[in-house]
């Protein structure tokens, strides 16, 4: 039976890895630090989790050790953030190309400089093209559930790809939330032990990570891409399994009061909760506004997104990262490309908000709505604006 607990979300994430009975955790705790790794070290030290805890000397080595451990056939977990994620960059592409089902929790935070350890999405937006399955959690319960789900998807024989669970640094990782903690039997029923497709085995030698000459490189990339695109159905299937096992259901795209909305906010991560509160307040004032939250970021759920925005008169896309030198933030750029490809002329207004731990309040949503509505009414071009810049 699940227990209702109040728990810091970092610890909930670590508890999920423990319930998944991971074999190896290779992690570097500090660039910047979260309690995820600390708590796992504690669980191993106290004998609550039988795993090898490898306290590596950098995130580059963390991901490298994860690649080795996963290739040896072990269920492998790590966690990172910001500069640390950037340091892993090189190996992230290799992990997906080698089809290794590593699971990583990413506490989304700003990238230096200037040095800033607080929340935004600049770290993960620099890792959009790494070929991993990626989800974004909105609250503590989602962090726990998506972490369990990540192992299920990653290790599925139809997928064999690494998975990142994104959670907002501080706004999620450092707050205590009420959540339902499943018991071991429930988790074991959902997530059996890892049975690798291939591993480094002296009785069945294989070569992994070979040279890809121009004659084979394109085909290798295509094969990995197909696996990522194919993971979409598996992601949904294992969310359905989760609903059956734990009674909580998840969708690639979440909507809130969107059916009759004229304008829709598009958000990712914990901002969705503030957005919903703001929408309730705006609805009371008679404003027909709703929201769309992207939970599955890679592979991008194109049809789900299009269905969610159907009928909307305009979109307000909130980016929590800059894409310097192009007209919009990374999420808006992608969504506009998608709308164009589908021949949809939905006006889009893009705001870059909440950089480096700057609060995004309910009032900010109201101001954004007003500005966007004015722009839509004027029939003007899409603009990208940074919210709350002090002059």
């Amino acid at each position: 039976m699940a227990r209702r607990v109040g728990l810091e979300v970092s610890l909930a994430c670590a508890e999920a890895a423990k319930l998944a009975n991971v074999d190896v955790i290779a992690a570097y705790p500090i660039t910047p630090q979260t309690h995820i790794v600390e708590h796992l070290a504690e669980l191993v030290a106290d004998g609550h989790l039988d795993a090898e805890f490898v306290p590596v000397e950098s995130e580059h080595s963390a991901m490298s050790a994860c690649v080795g451990s996963s290739a040896a056939g072990a269920r492998t977990f790590t966690s990172s953030s910001s500069q640390g994620l950037a340091l892993m960059h090189e190996i992230l592409f290799i992990a997906s190309a080698m089809r290794l089902p590593i699971v990583m929790a990413v506490a989304n935070r700003a990238l230096s400089g200037p040095l800033n350890i607080w929340n935004d999405h600049s770290d993960i937006m620099a890792e959009r093209d790494i070929g991993w399955v990626q989800t974004f959690a909105e609250n503590g319960q989602e962090v726990l559930d998506l972490t369990l789900h990540a192992f299920k998807v990653a290790e599925d024989a139809r997928v064999c790809l690494p998975v990142i669970v994104n959670m907002d640094g501080f706004l999620l990782t450092h707050v205590i939330e009420p959540l339902l903690m499943p018991d071991q039997a429930e988790v074991d029923a959902y997530l059996p032990a890892f049975a690798p497709q291939q591993r480094l085995d002296i009785s069945k030698p294989i070569s992994m990570g070979m040279v890809g000459m121009p004659e084979v490189y394109t085909e290798a990339k295509k094969a990995t891409l197909e696996a990522l695109l194919g993971s979409y159905e598996v992601v949904k299937e294992h969310w359905a399994g989760m609903a059956e096992q734990f009674g909580r259901s998840y969708k690639p795209i979440e909507t809130y009061r969107a059916e009759d909305a004229e304008v829709l906010f598009v958000t990712m991560g914990s901002l969705g909760e503030t957005c919903m509160t703001a929408i309730d307040e705006m609805r009371e004032q008679g404003l027909k506004v709703g929201s769309v939250r992207i939970r599955l970021w890679r592979p991008f759920p194109v049809e789900d997104f299009l269905a969610a925005i159907k009928g909307a008169g305009g979109l307000i896309v909130i980016d929590r990262a800059l894409s310097p030198g192009v007209p919009a933030g990374p999420v808006a750029t992608e969504l506009m490309g998608l709308l164009y490809a589908k021949g949809l002329k939905v006006p889009v207004h893009n705001f870059v908000a909440g950089l480096g731990g700057r609060d995004v309040t309910r009032e900010d949503f109201k101001k954004m709505l007003q500005k966007a509505k004015d722009a839509f009414a004027a029939g003007g071009e899409m603009t990208c604006e940074m919210v709350g810049v002090k002059e």
Partner: protein, 326 residues
Amino acid sequence: MSLAADALKNFEKITPKNIPLVEPLSKGHRGCQGCGEVLALRMVAKAVGSSMIAVSATGCMEIITSPYPQTAWEVPWIHVAFENTAAVASGIEAGRKALIRKGRMADDGAKVVAYAGDGATADIGMQALSGALERGHDFTYICLDNEAYMNTGIQRSSSTPWGAGTTTSPAGKKSKGQMTWKKNMAAIAAAHNIPYVATASPAFHLDLMNKVKKAITEAITVPGPAYVHIFSPCPTGWRCAPEDSLETARLVVNTRVFPLYEVIDGRYVLSRDVKKPKPVEDYLNIHRRFRHLKPEDIAVIQKRVGQDWDRLMALVKATNPEASAE
């Protein structure tokens, strides 16, 4: 505390009569003619045998043995990137340890052996190596030292010797080529207080194979890594004849330029006492990478080689107090 010396007490040596016939690194790879590195790696693989899990850095030995869909490896082999070989090996070791302990895998006695070139060891991979040595994973790390980045076109590394011309340390009017002294990786490995460190040269093949065998033998009972630094001639990069490869591997030892020794539990043991060293010139003259050096430059190298040898002898003496008392 278990000691490597105890684990090696009944060590069964490889001799000309029992050289392993197994070839985990099979023929058909794409190495250059006279490559001393692939020869050394073949000896390493023979000494370890078919229970080897090979972990490769990016480099010559990786590209010549694994152009997909071909592989020269008869044992499980993995390559991930340039600078992380030791970290990958530590992950494999940790994964296997957990799986064996949790009863999900039988202990098949496989040995994790990582190998990398001098650039991947002494330069870009130094941090990952130091981390893995310090954490004490049970694995063997082999540095195949050909004294420059050969795969990419002979660029200098921190393991390139003083005076050698490379494409990024060319000799010119204002330069004698490499103007820094070779980084002493074996000493750095030994400074991690690991159970076993050794240097080897493929010209002394039994010595090389026995050191690798010792490294994997002590690992069975002694927790912690082993490090073997192997001098690996590169005729292509050193600009010498392929047939001079082994001769150069012999002369580098017999001139005291590259001494052969072991560090067992911190105790320095000389493998080959070069009582009457040949002049360094004999070694340097084989390679065109040194041809710009003048007699006074060679004298500088000769002096440094003498100092390094004296320091090594002092370490041997200092770490073998009983022997010196006799």
